[in-house]
């Protein structure tokens, strides 16, 4: 059914008892044209764009748990395209444009709110760096505004603007079109839209092996049976190394790390934008329910546990209070962890291979949520056409050996970038 104001009214008159399922509980067929492993945001978006852009509707998404249970439901929902390197900014700007039409495209309110993303600068040299990044963005046609100290204070009223602060704020870089989206709605919206185009979404089906003919991957093994396909795409985030090992591929340029996120008790409106601290690492916004949604750095050691340590809780809380002293007595309602696929240069991998019949989408570090539409769009193109879309042509797996890393911070080969 198509969602509309009329549908809402009908639903309300029926006491909301008659809403149909948003997607079918599909039973796996023996074979498909393509299988996407991983029913997160990226996998579902890939299936949706395979069907919509490339007419490939005989597609299955196999998910080890349930839709919305992985990183797509574990992030801090921030959307932005404020990158320095052209390869990154073009890709994320393609994503931004898709975000801007997403609710209409999916006929699903993803609550995309362009409330702005403000990066704070705490030293003149940091502000110089922001000016450079802002200029690079503008050259790519992306909106960017450099704010001085007073403008930052006017824009975000409760920030500690005291010159005596430990890390005084000297300015900031604002992307007005950045913002947040409702992450669960993104997962559900893509699942429903893909399902409507004929894609089978198969939940509770962890991939335990691959079907092979020689070198070629020709399907997957799950507890719900063997499923064959001419093309198998992987979008499994933190599980990338483990799933690729099942295909016999070892030693990817990826480490899995735990990243924690936090929600406070609901408050009256207090932060109307997304603000990031520049002398440490904290990003904070306020959800429509009133909870402050925030997070910081990864815990910093290899982890597949979807929970982290208290040291990060302490760091993040102290940074939040440093920025907004009036949050001192706010209580944290929930915190949780997600497993990030930290690539060795901080940029993603969307590529054909590394085996025939196999396609890989990985290395999102902790910026995967905002990339969801662009990632799905480009991965679908790569799978359907057997060649990359221009916006993901640089996101190859062999860029590490060819010296073509996309190291946004120029900080070398460590799996700690974001």
């Amino acid at each position: 059914m198509k969602y509309s104001a009329l549908a809402l009214l009908k639903g309300a008159l029926g006491a909301n008892r008659n809403w149909p399922r948003q997607w079918r509980a599909a039973v796996p067929k023996p074979a498909y044209d393509a299988i996407i492993v991983g029913g997160g945001g990226h996998g579902l978006a890939t299936a949706y764009y395979l069907a919509r852009e490339h007419g490939l509707t005989n597609v299955a998404v196999v998910e080890k748990g349930w839709i919305g249970g992985g990183n797509v439901g574990r992030n801090t929902t921030i959307v932005r395209s404020n990158y320095l390197l052209p390869e990154n900014s073009r890709f994320y700007e393609l994503g931004m444009k898709l975000w801007e039409g997403l609710s209409k495209d999916l006929n699903y309110n993803v609550m995309f709110s362009q409330r702005g993303v403000l990066n704070l600068a705490h030293t003149p040299s940091q502000l110089d760096g922001f000016a450079r990044r802002g200029n690079a963005m503008r050259l790519e046609g992306i909106d960017a505004e450099l704010l001085d100290r007073d403008a930052v204070g006017d824009f975000v009223p409760h920030l500690d603007m005291s010159p005596a602060a430990r890390f005084p704020i000297v300015g900031g870089l604002l992307q007005p079109r950045g913002g947040t989206a409702r992450h669960d709605a993104v997962a559900w919206g893509y699942a429903r839209a893909a399902d409507a185009l004929g894609v089978d979404i198969i939940e509770n089906a962890p991939v335990t092996g691959f079907l092979r003919e020689g070198e070629r991957i020709v399907g997957v093994v799950t507890p719900r049976g063997e499923i064959r396909a001419a093309k198998v795409g992987l979008a499994v985030a933190g599980s990338t190394s483990e799933v690729m090992r099942l295909a016999g591929v070892e030693d990817l340029p990826i480490e899995s790390h735990v990243l924690q996120a936090f929600v406070s008790e609901p408050l009256k409106p207090i932060i109307h934008t997304v603000v990031t601290f520049g002398a440490g690492h904290l990003y904070i916004s306020q959800s429509d329910k009133g909870g402050l949604v925030f997070g910081g750095d990864i815990d910093g050691y290899n982890s597949y546990a979807q929970r982290g340590g208290l040291a990060v809780v302490r760091d993040v809380a102290s940074l939040a209070v440093t920025m907004f002293p009036n949050l001192k007595r706010v209580r944290v309602l929930r915190n949780w962890g997600g497993i990030m696929d930290m690539s060795m240069d901080g940029s993603p991998i969307i590529t054909k291979g590394p085996l025939p019949g196999l396609y890989l989408n990985a290395g999102w570090c902790y910026g995967g949520f905002k990339a969801t539409p662009a990632s799905g769009f480009c991965f679908a193109h790569t799978i359907a056409r057997d060649e990359p879309h221009p916006e993901n042509a640089a996101f190859t797996l062999d860029r590490f050996e060819r010296g073509l890393v996309l190291d946004e911070r120029g900080a070398g080969p460590v799996p700690q970038h974001h």
Partner: protein, 92 residues
């Protein structure tokens, strides 16, 4: 997560700095470029038992910790580097 430093006893993990994967060995200086690329960029990244380097900020010792990446259980911890041989009774 507690790490049993051989010098200092079990201490909270945030007293330590994570250095990284200890399962890799540096190739010879004249090894082929492909071998070096693999050393610099590739990781086994296992779910389960993982050997990794940590440094204790308190006593500065560099440690090789064997830890489960799924449960965060620490199975072993030993001093590495030039002091490894003389470190056995260091805490006594």
């Amino acid at each position: 997560m507690l790490i049993p430093c051989p010098h200092c006893g079990p201490r909270e993990s945030d007293e330590f700095t994570y250095i990284g994967d200890a399962e890799r060995t540096p190739p010879a200086l004249d090894a082929p470029e492909a071998v070096w690329t693999r050393y610099v960029f590739a990781r086994r990244n296992p779910m389960g038992r993982h050997r990794e380097y940590w440094q204790h900020t308190g006593c500065r010792a560099v440690l090789a910790v064997t830890r489960n990446t799924l449960t965060h259980e620490v199975e072993g911890c030993e001093i590495v580097g030039p002091h490894a041989a003389t470190a056995a009774g260091a805490g006594e």
